[in-house]
Amino acid sequence: MRIRVQSEPFDLAAELEGFGAEGDVGAVVTFTGIVRATGGLTRMQIEHYPGMTAKAIETIAGEAVARWDLDDCLVIHRHGSLAPGEQIMMVATASRHRAAAFEAAEFLMDYLKSRAPFWKKEIGPDGATWVAAKDEDEDALSRW
């Protein structure tokens, strides 16, 4: 299990090099979140809670590994000022079978969205606005 919280960009291919190479892995699923330019957005500012972020993600990832018996799990989440088109975060899961790898990746995404201490601020032509959490993001947790 590998967790990283960083301001620097990451190289998806390099991160996946050797990922899931150990054990009897039959499936690797990856998800990458990218900053959209919707509404003329020029920057996405991501704030986080340095003392808590990595621990919170470790707890979430640990639960995914245990529940889906994953062979490996990787989470990278950036903070700081990002431009449209930049990668915000990624998750990767490795498992014997694809169903577990897909489900675990979705679980990770749902929990990272509402339980990892990040806050997004969109900067666009009309100024800066904090992104509000959506009810459906909270509802998404109930399916797990």
């Binding site: 704030e47 975060m89 509402s114 339980r115 201490p117 997004k120 904090w130």
Partner: protein, 82 residues
Amino acid sequence: MLDVLYFAWVRERIGEPREQVDTQAATVAELVDELRAREERYALAFSDLSALRVAVDQELTEFDAPLAGAREVAFFPPMTGG
């Protein structure tokens, strides 16, 4: 002494990211009442607790959580990671 941290718009409304608070509050809710009574900017930031989340010693918790032995309390809006 308790370290009190604020994030996102809570930090902006209060005007600082962290401060030390000398308090005897037994719960998070009591601490919120003390902060609200201080100044308008606190009253404004804490006007609707349903719009806020709280962590005690870097673990998410509820507003009725006890503060006995706590070193750090953080207030912030619902998280928007991912």
